[in-house]
């Protein structure tokens, strides 16, 4: 098997692996959440619940795909498609291993940030076209959250970009051969982690779809596979954020040579996925205004200071 960047085989494998991982995460998350809440989670289907995802998929595919008569049909239908395609497109620039990837783009970081911003359209359109007060509130919150979080999400990455001297994710990984950026960019890492949680609408920042407050937020009116697209896109987004953290701060595929690079990448990324699930199990959701205040008044200045200090250190050591 000859894998190289951009060959149809590689692209197909990446697409397949990402979607399968996203679907499997539904089961993995339910199991892990169960363990962390002193339950067992779903363990009846297949070996230790491994076939639960098949059951879930059969269920979600056979559900009635209903469009409410009061909804705006066009944007209602395209909204789930946008988020799914945008999240999958982001994987184009992720370097999984030296020979595995879709494109070797020299604007990788910018591309990922741009795609993350486009994802906001899906959430906003979905909530707006549903013509439902909960959905509208959810998309309103999503829009405000996106606006406040993408600012310092980008700024927190600039430290890494400055250290590596490149926007190319592949070069950023190779620049970490002598030391992962988690050490010089620890504050940047923490800020990006928080922004990543907010970006992928995971607890504790799942304010756009807070079940206890506003039903299911922007996807209240969705059913069947349209809901499934939102659902799987959330998990694929989780994989994306975990991969990004791995690439930017934890040396991507780098690791001792007794395992192939792709395995190192998978181990690191899965560690972060498990951490995201742990956060969902442990941390309560903040109030809406607390989130905004925290973002604008604390994390934005902190990320700017981090960038400033990084710049000073780089200039002084040259």
């Amino acid at each position: 098997m000859n894998l190289e960047i951009g060959s149809p085989l590689t692209v197909g494998l990446i697409l397949f692996a990402v979607i399968i991982t996203g679907a499997l995460l539904i089961t993995v998350e339910r199991r892990l959440l169960g363990f962390w809440q002193e339950r067992l989670g779903p363990n009846r289907v297949g070996w230790f619940g491994s076939l639960q995802v098949v059951a879930d998929m059969i269920k979600i595919f056979t559900k009635e795909d209903w469009i409410p008569p009061f909804a705006d049909r066009f944007s209602f239908v395209i909204a789930p498609g946008i988020i799914m395609s945008v999240v999958l497109l982001s994987f184009a620039v992720i370097p999984f291993a030296p020979n595995i990837g879709v494109i070797d783009s020299n604007i990788g970081v910018l591309f990922v940030l741009a795609m993350a911003s486009l994802g906001a359209y899906s959430v906003m359109l979905g909530g707006l076209s549903s013509d439902n007060k909960y959905a509208l509130l959810g998309s309103l919150r999503a829009a405000a959250q996106m606006v406040s979080y993408e600012v310092f999400m980008g700024i927190s990455l600039l430290g890494v970009v400055a250290l590596a001297g490149s926007f190319n994710l592949r070069e950023i990984v190779e620049a970490q051969a002598d030391g992962w950026y988690i050490i010089p960019q620890f504050i940047g890492f923490v800020i990006f982690l928080i922004a990543g949680v907010a970006e992928s609408h995971r607890l504790p920042f799942d304010i756009p779809e807070a079940e206890q407050e506003i039903c299911a937020g922007y996807h209240t009116e969705y059913s069947g596979m349209k809901f499934g697209m939102f659902f799987v896109a959330e998990y694929v987004g989780l994989v994306l954020i975990s991969s990004l953290i791995t690439v930017l701060f934890f040396g991507g595929w780098l690791g001792p040579t007794f395992l192939p690079p792709i395995i190192w990448f998978a181990i690191k990324a899965f560690g972060f996925i498990a951490f995201f699930i742990l956060m969902r199990a442990a941390v309560p959701r903040p109030r809406y205004d607390q989130l905004m205040t925290y973002g604008w008044l604390f994390l934005l200045p902190l990320s700017l200071v981090n960038l400033l200090v990084t710049g000073v250190i780089i200039l002084s050591t040259q």
């Binding site: 363990f35 962390w36 809440q37 002193e38 339950r39 067992l40 742990l278 956060m279 199990a281 442990a282 941390v283």
Partner: protein, 179 residues
């Protein structure tokens, strides 16, 4: 201010750590169909009709259970044997109505109707929740092993005249009391 921020952050980290350690704790889940719970003998579950030690039906069709039932789920019809015993011609319990309150068991003068610790009574068809006498009758005495109503009661049946029951005095001949 700094202390507040640090305390808040450490509290979050501590939360995450404590929840993570739950991974190695014993789980609270009881895996029910594989792991059956202990059912206490006096649990009020599925209703049965018991037989006396001689193997006859205990129920004498007195209707007290049907009267006591708060949801009217018991229906029965009295019949009479040739030897004078009463028995239910049919005895029907609608378990889709039954609330397992146990009033019927308390009302029963012959210990015939009893509640058992069985609770697994789910059915796919609602009509299957209606149990007839054949379904309710068991081949044992239930909770009371020695009790036999006709042996202790004053009711006259074939082979046992008035006054012949256990601990029963012979009936007083009122005419002999005349002066």
């Amino acid at each position: 201010m700094i202390k507040l921020i640090v305390d808040t952050l450490l509290s979050q980290v501590r939360t995450l750590w404590l929840v993570f350690m739950k991974l190695f704790q014993k789980k609270d889940t009881v895996e029910y169909p594989d792991q059956q719970p202990y059912m206490f003998p006096r649990w009020r579950g599925r209703i049965i009709l018991s037989r006396d030690p001689d193997g006859e039906e205990r129920c004498v069709a007195c209707n007290l259970c049907a009267v006591a039932c708060p949801v009217d789920c018991i229906a029965l019809q009295k019949g009479e044997m040739e030897d004078g015993r009463w028995y239910p011609e049919f005895f029907r319990i609608n378990f889709s109505r039954c609330i397992m309150c146990g009033f019927c068991e308390e009302a029963c003068p012959t210990n015939a109707i009893q509640l058992t610790p069985d609770f697994e009574m789910a059915e796919y068809v609602r009509q299957d929740m209606v149990w007839e006498k054949e379904d309710l009758l068991i081949n044992g005495t239930g909770k009371y092993h020695d009790y036999n109503f006709y042996r202790v009661a004053g009711k006259k049946i074939e082979g046992k005249d008035k006054g012949e029951a256990l601990n029963e005095a012979a009936p007083v001949d009122v005419r002999s009391l005349l002066p």
